[in-house]
Amino acid sequence: MSISTAPPTTASVGASPVTGPDPEAAAARAPRIRRRFAGLRIPLLFLAPFLLLFLAMYVLPILFAIGQSLFTLTRSGLGLTAPTLTFDPLANYARVFADTEFIASLGRVVLFGAVQVPVMLGLALVLALLLDSRSARGKSFFRLASFLPFAVPGVVAALMWSFLYSPVSSPINNFLNDSFGFTIPFFSDGFALWSVANIVTWTWTGYNMLIIYSALQTIPGETLEAAKLDGASAWRTAWSVKIPMVRPALILTTVFSIIGSAQLYNEPRVLQPVSGGSITSTFTPLMAAQAQVGAQNYPYAAAQSVVLALLVGVLSYGFFRLTNRGEK
């Protein structure tokens, strides 16, 4: 589009030096305008494959889901005729916020995030500081060991832990029972959420530790030397110098971990069949929405997905703004 309009524009500007009051400025303007159009064509061609697929696979589905969520599905009492769609823009959304199972799943995920994220990041920070300290030996081994769980796909990690938790053959409980005479009820109603939290912590602690550790490595040697000359202990240096200096990395890992909690799905989904009922099919919001898809309740599932995507989007955006302001 811009290609076809470019030549006349440049031509008319190019002609202006003859009549214009300031020929020099106009001559300088001509190539600038030509460059502006040429300058849009090339980057857009570079961006086109990504942008087109992005629009088709990210933006369009969301718009489609929003559209679908504005209709309600009515099945006739006997189910003999095909269900009919009626335009009723607010019905599904009203249902989402009155859906006790969906609200309960949201609450569960909030509780999960409030406990699991601080525990995991605290652990990651302590490990990163230990690894960064002068006294640590075998650093590359420990770095590798903590990164190893991240190499296991989330679903496979959950499968593995489902066997370690197994009510009949848990090796952890066998060991605890033989040595200390007690067992952990991994799948009891109150404990199942924390069994899930352990899997998530196991998978992501090393990853977060490496991000914090890389940030620690960028602290200039002079800064640490200065702290040492001032007689600061290792503890004091860690608390007053290192932790404040890796604040951006801590914020980043916090934001990503909170967003991760909101999309909790793989681990509870894999544990569900062996949990003996403590992990329900609506344990997390995503599982609840998927259950509605399974029941072919598409408009309602669409409404749930839109609400979820919106919540996560607002959450991410909020954190993004908050952290950006904090740094300025």
Binding site: F54, S146, P153
Partner: protein, 293 residues
Amino acid sequence: MSAVASAPRLAGRRAAKESSLTRSFGVTGLLLLSAFYFVVPIWWLIVASIKPAGTQFAGSGLWADGFGLFDNIARVFAVNDGIFGRWMLNSVFYAGTAAVVGTVFSAMAGYALAKYAFRGRGFIFGVVLAAVLIPKVMFTLPLFLMFNQIGLLNNPLAVLLPSIVSPFGVYLARVFAAQSVPDELIEAGRLDGAGEFRIFGSVSMRIMSPALVTIFLFQFVDVWNNYLLPVMVLNDSKLQPVVVGLVAWSGSNGQVPGGTVIVGAFLSIIPLAIAFLSLQRFWRAGLTAGAVK
């Protein structure tokens, strides 16, 4: 001031040397404890895969009494006429294709965002960043609903097309292109009369190649590990990737024995483990770039 301070410090240094030894033990001990937590479950998985069939859940699980690895592998491949091999190939196909195409698309987009000044650049990059922050999973159910409407369910494209798009890859490519491709080199290419795409293909891509490996790896693992998308859009078990197949086995109520599921899980992580261990430095490059804002 330094004279006052240095006297106690000299006296303290001997004590410090002794305490540094105990501290070293303490620090290393704590690190060992964490390594134990991280490594033991994987160790258990390896040991269970080596144990003779039927004894997977016997003993402490920390040591194998007997060797049944090859027999176990044969059992995994015997289920449903070797469907497991098919799943592994599917995973390689989905993850490989999506990561190759996606890396090229991400590199082009990131390069354009880093190296050309044009109107709307800030807006597009803002959208990419927003998409990095909203997890892919959030788009999966809407994708299913859309594919259901246009009849793309049970088609490998339903997994491939969404998997090619990687906002994080674009973000990484932009960071790497801005860091590593000098403007002078692009300018020199222009003076030599090379077109913009020629410069990108033969100069910039080559300089960015270590970064492209990183982008490829992140995307490959991302697609390999994705469970929700394939389980939603693919019904036919012959089309499914290995993670979907394994979960189906584990939820089969014992139709496929637990021991076989464990060995399958072990086999499924070998390709990724190799990619991780052999390409560690590329991982770290991606992690640090992700952390720098």
